[in-house]
């Protein structure tokens, strides 16, 4: 294995995230290569130094959470549609139109989130589907997770 390849794997090697065969290849190379061994030592030192930044102790507890939930509930706008009498024939027509529209959309839909796809939608797709901004994925991911879509959802979204 070449030095450049080995160096790209050193972080995963230190974190024990490489397959055993790959890990053995890296170990073998590092044992024989002074430059890569120095690189590994430097990375190990960086990882160790990061532990100097201590964690914090939270100040709040569960009661604060319940108070926050109450505040959020009180802050939500209450919006109720007035109960209007709808004739039965109008309700029936609306139902038929909804079903027909759904069938039509299902027939012509060719996007990557089509019903027949085995692949779970990416967070980006969920965001688009929910009509939220791509950078504001909190609500989308919440709904996505609750809906059972998180499993295996490592998306192809570009890394920074």
């Amino acid at each position: 294995m070449r030095c450049s390849k080995v160096r790209s794997l050193l972080t995963s090697y230190l974190d024990s995230e490489l397959e055993e065969r790959r890990s053995a290849e890296v170990r073998e190379h590092v044992d024989a290569c002074d430059a890569c061994r120095a690189e590994l030592a430097a990375l190990r030192s960086v990882t160790s130094t990061l532990g100097e930044w201590a964690e914090v102790e939270p100040r709040l507890g569960f009661d604060a959470l319940l108070a926050r939930v109450d505040r959020r509930a009180a802050a939500k706008p209450r919006f109720e549609l007035p109960a209007l009498p709808v004739p039965r024939w109008a309700a029936a027509m609306l139902a038929v139109a909804s079903v027909a529209g759904g069938v039509l959309l299902g027939t012509i839909g060719t996007g990557s989130t089509s019903v027949g796809s085995n692949k779970p939608p990416s967070a980006q797709q969920v965001a688009v589907a929910m009509d939220v901004q791509p950078h504001d994925l909190v609500e989308a991911s919440l709904a996505y997770s609750l809906g059972g879509g998180l499993q295996g959802s490592a998306s192809e979204r570009g890394a920074q």
């Binding site: 995963s12 030592a41 964690e55 914090v56 939270p58 709040l60 994925l137 490592a154």
Partner: protein
Amino acid sequence: MDYDTELMLRASRGEDAAFRELFDRHYKRAVNTAYRSTGDPDLAEDIAMDAFARIYESRGSFKPAAKFSTYLYRVVVNLSINATKRRRVVTSVSLDDGRDVASSDAGPDERVERSELARAVRSAVLSLPVNQRMALVLTRYEGLSYHDAAQAMGVSVGAVESLLHRAKQNLRKALGEHISLE
């Protein structure tokens, strides 16, 4: 089914005691994930509270599709990214705000030295691009596997590997004088 998922399912059926146990088990980790993402302990606590409040409000529709911790991290990560974008976090806040868990058995000189090192580490981590920082926080500080970190961030495992590789290179440059090579 793991214990957290069992608790969340019980919470979804209206058992507040089960949600309280989930909160007690994970709140500190949520706070520290947000803290190391933003550098601000008060903002971190606000983010962690917000994450739990949202999960509590949505508990009725929970389905056990992933580990609860992954689900929680995903919400905390997204809230932290949003908070970081909304507000330019000050990275030079003193570490002596009484909230860091400091080593108590060190002498005065050693405490000063370690405080300087801690400040340098904090500054270096907070200066990383946000996705590199998130990958580092989840794996190095929270101990998640690359797979779980990828799920929490909504990226591939390969992307996490790449982000961590670049993060370590950047940290090495930023921490140069503080790194001891044996």
